[in-house]
Symmetry: C2
Subunit: 466 residues, 2 copies
């Protein structure tokens, strides 16, 4: 039994029953799938944390529990940013790979020499493999996938491109009916962070790089990121799955951001453009373009507005047109999210019923939470925009704000239009802070009852999406 328990801080205050799994759903009665992990750095710890924190929901989705059985680390004594109680730790990665009870191995050490050996060894032993290693896939993917094909195992690599964004799945399966014409991606968060800072603060490259290193957004040796190599690895992978060509990292044109000058960012802006570091893959009649370089993009495009460490990939398919995928391109939890998605895919492949691989409603039917209440609108909470038609005389606004105050509704902003001569009533706009709809219903009823207000009050809800 796994003793990795979910951190209690994430439990809701008044827990409701989100799962019927204790009522004897047959899926959860299946044995755990045992997972081995090689490497417990940032991504490894993120993966262990996500698996532990969401263990119940993951089991409901995957059809059976996933247990981290064994983890290989370089240094047993090192402090970890995840709980390791109940996990067998070893310094020998082959102990993980050779364990016959382990069905899936996650390679999360990085690098291309040892990682390649370990992944090939795991495949030869019939394990499904999950990796976050873009350099490995871009440089040795053809060999690795041929081995996987031979041994009939899955090698998942969703985490290798754009962190938590499910871009591999989107292109490989979601857009499978399309002839993909081109794709462009902001696929290196470090470079994008540096460019965003250079633009917003007019600072020089070297200067921002130092800050990025201090913030942990850039490695001590930032070459892979700022010289475009990391982006080229990812572009290699995206181009292969988009166009049906083998992985060809050595053919990518690569230019980083180290030579960009702050003045070019300023001039570009004056002309209506932003400079983004893009990976670009395009196919034409004569062949495929694969290139990574700083690029001017019209300011109004969504890609031009993807800032900081965020990633985005824009894909043009002949049927679907333009689709865009946006999210965090790195970090322990986002990358862990992609690793876990691949693990769940592998679990589904290991489960008995192949025809019914993914549950229709994402969770196994017996675990759908039927008892969760859908809240009546009165119990929902949002901020509000209110427009009143008020008589233009003193004291009206005081009456309105008193009503709101009595119901503990805070006002965020007020906008009052200057009255024109022929109007008896003027519009007054109020933005409120978040409050329960039932309180707002009361407030609006009271405001509409004021003699100086012409009913009805216009109410539009507001969400900050932060």
């Amino acid at each position: 039994m796994s003793t990795v328990s979910a951190p209690t801080r994430l439990a809701p205050k008044n827990p409701i029953r989100w799962s019927n799994s204790r009522q004897g759903g047959r899926e959860n009665a299946l044995d755990s799938i045992k997972l081995g992990i090689i490497g417990l750095g940032t991504v490894g710890s993120g993966t262990v944390n996500v698996l532990a924190r969401n263990a119940d929901e993951i089991a409901r989705r995957a059809g059976r529990p996933i247990r981290v059985a064994s983890v290989a680390v370089r240094d047993l004594a090192k402090a970890r940013s995840c709980a390791t109680a109940g996990i067998h730790l070893t310094t020998d990665p082959y102990e993980v790979i050779n364990d016959p009870s382990i069905n899936i191995v996650a390679e999360l050490i990085g690098g291309t020499t040892l990682a390649r050996e370990l992944v090939l060894a795991a495949i030869r032993r019939g394990k499904h493999v999950v990796t976050a290693n873009k350099a490995l896939v871009a440089r040795h993917g053809n060999e690795i996938f041929a081995a996987a094909e031979k041994h009939r195992v899955i090698v998942g690599f969703e985490a290798a491109v754009a962190g938590g964004i499910p871009i591999i799945k989107a292109i490989r399966e979601g857009l499978a009916g399309n002839r993909i014409e081109w794709l462009v991606g902001i696929i290196n968060g470090t470079s994008n962070f540096i460019l965003t800072e250079m633009r917003d603060k007019g600072r020089a490259f070297d200067d921002v790089l130092k800050e990025a290193q201090a913030l942990g957004y850039a490695e001590a040796d930032p070459t892979f990121d700022v010289e475009g190599i990391d982006a080229a690895h990812k572009l290699t992978i995206l181009a292969a799955i988009a166009f049906g060509i083998p992985l060809q990292y050595e053919s990518v044109y690569v230019e980083g951001i180290t030579k960009l000058e702050a003045q070019d960012i300023v001039f570009a802006r004056k002309l209506g453009y932003r400079i983004k570091h893009l990976g670009i893959a395009r196919r034409g009649a004569d062949g495929v373009e694969l290139r990574v370089h700083p690029t001017l993009v019209p300011m109004r495009r969504i890609v031009a507005n993807v800032d900081g460490v965020m990633n985005a990939v824009l894909v043009k398919g002949d049927a679907v047109g333009h689709t865009l995928y946006y999210g965090a391109g790195a970090g322990a939890d986002p990358t862990g999210s992609a690793v876990v998605a691949d693990i769940i895919d592998a679990v589904r492949a290991l489960t008995v019923d192949p025809q019914h691989r993914v549950p229709h409603l994402a969770f196994q039917p017996s675990t759908l939470a039927g008892g969760v209440p859908i809240l009546p609108m009165g119990q929902t909470e949002t901020a509000y925009y209110l427009r009143l038609q008020a008589e233009d005389r003193p004291g009206v606004l005081a009456d309105v704000t008193r009503i709101l105050g009595d119901l503990e509704i805070s006002i965020e902003a007020i906008l009052q239009k200057a009255p024109s001569e022929d109007e008896t009533h003027v519009p007054v706009i109020l933005l409120t802070q978040r409050v329960q709809e039932s309180a707002m219903d009361k407030a609006i009823a009271a405001i509409e009852a004021l003699p100086a207000i012409r009913a009805p009050v216009t109410r539009i809800r507001m969400e900050t999406l932060s």
Copy 2:
């Protein structure tokens, strides 16, 4: 044999071999999967067109050819916007469903009465089903999925939400490791188009609706779209797969855009917000919020900048953070793209090797196009930003533009900085139109050789992403 052929206009001028499928890859040696379609309106025709146009690539992805064998239509004589040669047409949908050679049935008629009967009948006959019908899934999905579970078949409904955006797959599989906290979506293109026009042109709702109807963006009876019912159907589906709850359409709070006034859009903008029609699903300690209504969103958010008929869904997961999915939410080809993706998923489930369901590099290994050249940079084509350090004297710019003109490089814009007193050279910025990189290399070499220019010339590539 299918006689539906790809339109020749889409063939490249100098075709290169994108597929090795004629070299006897074992996957393509498998028999065709036979597809039946019920309904040949907008979505049905789009589906047939996508399947025909991309038949080769789809077979390389799916592992075997997909053939539209039989289609049920209401009127045999009606003109279609897709080729139907080689397809058996019938007015009896049960003829499609009862055909024992048909493995997959696509229900593309809409409505909830006949569609429900037909889908349940197809399931009972052991067919995999694909549908684009959001009303059907939202209102009868629980019954339909229970039947599918019983008969061990897949019911694909990617096309039911946000058209071509693979949002079902993203949430159900790509984010499967996450506890989804909330999601918001612009999931009705008609409403979004109307709101965008009201904002940009200051026009009234009724006025824009008429235009939307003339453009074909709104139905003759627009109630489902503008009253929020269509968005509520889609939100019902998204909430179920995000939270693991049954489909509960009847519990969604629904408010459309018919009562929005142009002045509120103006006031919102003054306060830094845009009004979007959103579907919002959020889970909290007490239950789930499910609501569809006009919403103020801060202008700087990407969701606030999704305009016209485009759709977007923003999902907050505990591990991945915010991810966003953007694309066309309707239309024949985009919706066809999603229908075909589901068909390919079903084909994979029908194929022999369940462990190797999705090829690692999206296309079956034997069909990877090894002979496709990766173009050297000289043969790629982009627009360019050039920054020259030029002596501030007459004639220099004429020399530069002559060099560009001789190489047939058109200038899009010139930006020249006023010289300051202590500078001998001033920056001159040129934006060019698209040209081959080899021509630009020559131009830059010639410009750098001019005595009045201080080398090097700064060159940054430019993409309009249109």
